[in-house]
Amino acid sequence: MPVEPPVSSPSSLVEAYAAMAEFPPARPIAGGTDLMVALTGELGQPPERIVDLWHLDALRGISADGEALTIGALTTYTEVRRSALCREHLPGLVEAAATIGATQIQNRGTLGGNIANASPAGDTLPVWLAMDATFSLGSIRGERTVRAADFWIDYRRTALQPDELLLRIRVPLANGQEMRYRKVGTRRAQAISKVVIALAWREIPGVDGWTDVRVALGSVAATPIRARATEVAMEGRWPIPETADLAAETLAAEIHPIDDVRSTAEYRRIVSARVLHRLIREAGGW
């Protein structure tokens, strides 16, 4: 039987902030697809106290203005898949959501949970890095914004203070922005990724080659990462065979994955390079 720590279910954000600020430190629960597994005690010390966020409708909803797509932290993968706004503005996120678990997990798991749980294999995390997303964090002290690039600071460690909650994700929508996503796992459903890649770029009329190239990866380091040397190598180039070869070669030299239960360092290095090569080829249509 799993442990059953005390839980409070606040019905407003103000109550939730107060509950998070109490002692002993609490872990928030959203859809529970990670936290409920932690309560089995097989993944280390389970939390002493839990704050249930599920009823906080202020953390739901997807909206878009001319500049950005804003997504509430409690948005489930199923809601992302069904969202016309996500399909229009960020189809790569819809693709990513469809690769996570299967229907049962997609109905409960949330984007905020994926981000705050901070697994290096978190399937949506490279999307946020590649899209230069920012996260709104809130606590009893007020709100602040942190860039995705500054959020995952070490293995399963984030920029969140112990009493802070992730509220919203903001994805800037620049003209000519594109993003492609690919996950490699043991099978198509219910798999934790061996390698996950998001590739983003802009095509600006009158500008030669891709601009603002981003290459972000999961499962190849202690945190989700950006491959900055590979980005520099690709910047200003078109998706032609020479670019794909150069990008793949640069990426293979840049990342330092490890062997673990799901895969080997060598496999991850080779597959990351090949998947990036393929994404560039698909974008170039050759």
């Binding site: 039987m1 059953e4 279910s9 859809g31 697809t33 597994v37 678990g101 299967a102 198509r188 459903a189």
Partner: protein
């Protein structure tokens, strides 16, 4: 302990349990609905799939505090009042869609959600719908046939 109220198989129920008690344990131990099985207990296998407000979820990952006020449907809610099988259950019987039986309640509930959403006898779509349900007997072919049969509306009632 806290009192939680929910509707299970069209009956209003009240349970007095810790808020982090798994919905799975509430169904099996408090409500004696042991049709819902525990397989892995960590959301991998789908054996404990139930419908929560119409959506398939794994009951091992839902704390009861998040099911307050919800409408839950379990495998016991499929058959009619005189225990007559519904079309989906009859289809499993007809095609041999059940072997050892541990995955069957979860398979039935994922399949029921698929049918409720208007799913048809399409092999790929059915495979997607049950991608979160593992059958250790590997009897997927017969299960997919059963769901396709129920979706086609051509089930011979096996009563």
């Amino acid at each position: 302990m806290t009192i939680f109220r929910l509707t299970v198989n069209e009956t209003a129920v009240e349970v007095d349990v810790p808020g982090m008690r798994r919905l799975l344990d509430v169904l099996r131990d408090e409500l004696a609905l042991t049709g819902t099985k525990e397989g892995c207990g960590e959301g991998e296998c789908g054996a404990c799939t139930v419908l929560l407000d119409g959506a398939p979820v794994v009951a091992c990952l839902v704390p009861i505090c998040q099911a307050e006020g919800a409408v839950v449907r379990t495998v016991e809610g499929l058959a009619g009042p005189a225990h007559q099988l519904d079309a989906l259950q009859a289809a499993f019987l007809e095609t041999g869609g059940a072997q050892c039986g541990i995955c069957t309640p979860g398979m039935l509930m994922s399949a029921q959600a698929y049918l409720d959403a208007g799913g048809g006898p399409d092999d790929g779509a059915i495979r997607d719908a049950i991608a979160g349900n593992l059958c250790r007997c590997t009897g997927y072919t017969k299960i997919i046939e059963a769901i396709a049969l129920a979706a086609s509306g051509r089930v011979v009632r096996a009563e």
